[in-house]
Symmetry: C2
């Protein structure tokens, strides 16, 4: 399976594409950051993020998009921007019919380091090792996007079964699309 991970943000939106299945070596297909100027109008920044995400979807054709689930325990202003950037990423994916999965920061940390409270550096080090890179991707948002994609590949069997069960419970007469990996 090919997954685009998105670490949403207005100023820096991390994006990373990973291919693989649980239990096999993973492969990084691309990593980067979509940036928007802090002094631009909010609407224009959202348009720039949309264009950036669309370009990544066009180039890498992922089958799944994994986005960091936004919590509001942080700075209020930052959280609003993060929620708005994540909305654009989810919109771009859903418009193409791609399944969107949300993972919390602690789920991602636990997936790649074994510790849900791991530091940024530790996440970067594990992403580097798991994808056999020469150095940790910079900035941290880029490494986090790859960690999200890895987390989704490893959690996907359970998450997809759960989504199928929910879908089946909601619409029992519509056949549930089989997820082939």
């Amino acid at each position: 399976m090919r997954v685009l991970g998105v670490d949403p943000g207005l100023t820096r939106c991390g994006v990373g594409v990973v291919e693989g299945v649980a239990g096999r070596p993973l492969k990084m297909l691309g990593v980067g950051v979509v940036r928007t100027p802090a002094d631009a109008e909010l609407g224009d920044r959202l348009v720039a993020i949309e264009r950036g995400i669309e370009a990544w979807l066009d180039e890498h054709r992922p089958e799944y998009v994994a986005v960091e689930r936004v919590f509001s325990q942080h700075n209020v202003r930052t959280v609003m921007g993060t929620a708005q950037a994540s909305a654009v990423a989810m919109l771009c994916a859903a418009r193409r019919g791609l399944p969107v999965a949300l993972h919390t920061p602690s789920e991602v940390k636990a997936a790649v380091t074994g510790n849900g409270r791991a530091e940024k550096d530790q996440v970067g080090a594990m992403v580097t090792r798991l994808l056999r890179l020469d150095a940790p991707p910079k900035p941290a948002d880029a490494a986090d996007a790859l960690a999200l994609a890895i987390c989704h590949i490893w959690r996907a069997p359970a998450v997809n079964r759960l989504q199928q069960a929910h879908a089946a419970a909601r619409a029992p007469r519509i056949p549930v699309r089989k997820v082939t990996r």
Copy 2:
């Protein structure tokens, strides 16, 4: 000037179009609600809101879009959904090059009732009177969207001058587009 007001929400997104200038009677061109099912996937709900907003922009061709500024003093889950719905509305407007203005709930209430802490009913009553309607628009989200549009028309001269000043300060060599009303 013709303004689309948007009271953002995932379940009910109020929309209302008002035409007029400050100091003259205002005219309502349309009011409604874009709804999405609470049990749908978040990405699909955002796509449905995008389609709804696009349909309103296509039909009424507003020159400005006024969106409620989201605060996080309320329920955390609701605020995230509101921020995400507002991002879609701002994106749709900015993609068409329409200026997007954000007004806080208290600015809107103060504009239409004279009291920044007015109750929902009072806002509905004043919207009904100002637009010479037979009854308050239902649900409250629809009335709030009209109130946002009215607020923008009345605040616009000051807000637009401010936006022009900011734009001029940022890019002194680019001629500022004249706002004609």
